[in-house]
Subunit: 372 residues, 2 copies
């Protein structure tokens, strides 16, 4: 019954998916359809000039499609949050919006300094809920040691928005351990990047995931459908964990495994770094409860969102040391080395299962609507 209900949803989505003329849910789901929209519509229309890049020392920009950009040695990232429901086991839209942007800034190799928020509220929204969300934002800021410096509020008439949506943007400065981290990388292999961008992975680099995958996505889907699985979201700021591993050194790239999950991270790496990737299925940490829920729901936990999980690419010689440091943090106690970048025909992402290696297909997008 449950499985059928979900399948029906997907079928409906596909029927409506006239992605040439209309925007569909897949255009915002972090997969191949969204990448296509970004390239053919956003990057095309928002192209910039080289003189501007030189003037402001723009090192990473829109066309790099990374987690953030780098301008004048400052990292900047932005995210809009439309998660449904607004309050869910383990968090709410407030905690999500603060954590998400802190993580996007941090994974570039920056120390997040400050955040902005843009609130859009529906007229009639209960003030109690707003207070609860703002308190949660404030608590998450305290937890991370990064605060909101400016904001904006808009209210639209009843019926033109369901409840509340929050944009957060954030800026960070070069992490004080980033140069030392890069020096460690250079002991083992050639490395000419200044930031931890998506294109830095090379054959031989190990891949580490900081904990169990799929928790957030399955929590949200359960809440949307009214299922009673015993799963809570992993949403949390990861800036202190990232600081910890940069102190070890040897990290070449970090990604925040949000929409599209771990699978999307691996595909973005293989595409932007031009490498094949092989991960061992048995090493990917997935909670038993999440595994069971995924089987019932017909969803792959590798393709659903996390909000407190990072995926780390590092030189092989430092992988064990980075793993030990990760295990010192509660947020990363389940971290595992799951595989490596290696020569694969067509630069595919391969999953090594008991019976052999299979290609992990790039999904059209996260299977859970409004997951973040």
């Amino acid at each position: 019954m449950m499985l059928m209900e979900i399948k029906d949803d997907f079928t409906n989505n596909l029927k409506k998916d006239d992605s040439k003329n209309f925007i569909t849910s897949k255009h915002g789901a972090g997969g191949s359809i969204m990448q296509n929209l970004i390239q053919n519509c956003f990057v095309k229309n928002l192209s910039s000039e080289n003189s501007w890049k030189e003037k402001f020392n723009v090192e990473i920009s829109l066309e790099d499609l990374d987690d953030g950009a780098v301008v004048n040695d400052t990292v900047i990232a932005t995210d809009s949050h439309v998660v449904k429901p607004t309050f869910f086991p383990g968090g709410d839209i407030g905690k999500l919006s603060i954590s998400g942007t802190i993580n996007d800034v941090s994974v570039m190799g920056a120390e997040p300094m400050a955040l902005t928020f843009g609130l859009i509220l529906e007229s009639g929204y209960p003030r109690n809920n707003l207070e609860r969300i703002l308190k949660s934002m404030g608590d998450t800021c305290k937890q991370a040691g990064v605060y909101v410096v400016t904001g904006d509020t808009k209210v639209v008439e009843k019926g033109s928005l369901d409840g509340i949506m929050i944009n957060t943007s954030g800026i960070g400065r070069r992490n004080s351990f980033l140069d030392k981290n890069i020096d460690v990388v250079k002991k083992y292999r050639k490395f000419d990047a200044r930031w931890l961008s998506d294109s830095n992975l090379r054959e031989g680099d190990k891949i580490i995931v900081s904990g169990t995958v799929g928790d957030h996505g399955i929590t949200i889907l359960s809440a949307q459908k009214g299922y009673d699985f015993d799963i809570i979201s992993d949403v949390t700021p990861m800036n202190k964990v990232i600081q910890g591993i940069l102190e070890v050194g040897g990290v070449v790239s970090i990604k925040d495994a949000t929409r599209g999950g771990l699978g999307n991270v691996l595909h973005e790496w293989s595409e932007k770094s031009n490498v094949g990737i092989v991960v061992k299925d048995s090493r990917i940490p997935v909670k038993n409860s999440v595994k069971e829920a995924c089987e019932i729901l017909g969803i792959n936990p590798l393709h659903t969102a996390n909000e407190g999980k990072i995926v780390i690419g590092c030189v092989a010689k430092k992988a064990e040391e980075i793993l030990s440091v990760l295990h010192e943090f509660t947020e990363a106690k389940d971290a595992e080395i799951i595989g490596q970048a290696e020569k694969v025909f067509g630069n595919h992402v391969l999953i090594e299962k008991e019976h052999g290696k299979v290609i992990l297909e790039s999904p059209e997008g996260d299977p859970v609507p409004r997951v973040c």
Copy 2:
């Protein structure tokens, strides 16, 4: 008939205005009710720590409620745009979102470097419209010489958003003429601020508005109501104009007269700078077409939004020179010196009319819903 229709709208709004328990349109309209929400809900819950301010050299933060913030010598500002209709005479939500954030960054005394966007789209939104909006964003970026470096897209299901909403955030670095500008101010009076903040106005400073007021607000209201006034929005980036007047020197504060219009700017200045303000009604530039529309609609053009108008506070001795430079820019050809900061009992904002001075009351918020 028209007047009655508008009045009815206001009466309905007031009846629904249970601002203690529910969010109403006035909470997002840039007036006193919004200020109250910001103080009692946002600033209270999002308070920061002094150690953080010291660590990142946070000079202007959330509690200053300025157009932007200053962190690590970088200005950051954010705005969400929910304007209705999305396309209007003189512009669209794309041009508005780019211009608004460029202006917010520039008025602090910064040179805008880069922008981010956060798009929220309703499933089923026509791709043609999206292309048109992105082209308009791109064109406005080119006009201003400031480009988008990163973005985020979310799609929500049909019925949970009406069409498209856009957040833009922006960062800027200290304008290269700001120090020289401040040196000029110091020739004439004491000045100890490092940025052009709202609290810098002092008795004797002159107030200049860069052009006719109310154009944008009345354009949007006309479009919402289907009236056929011959008015177009003034939406445009003002960074080059601001660059021009900083080169002259003597500017103490600049504000972007958006939601709540010129009136809101004058009230924010009088409150944050603790000064009275007197402006001459006859000197405030208002287009005849806007004046006529305002009379029919029962709206004060001083209280409605502009999107390409700045209000400048400067030392008296430099006012004429600044005015001449403003007149060299098409965007500021109608600039006028409209009054000055002076001793007024209760630090009121006074409008000098033919028959004498009257208090300009602080409105609850912009009379036009979804004006930006």
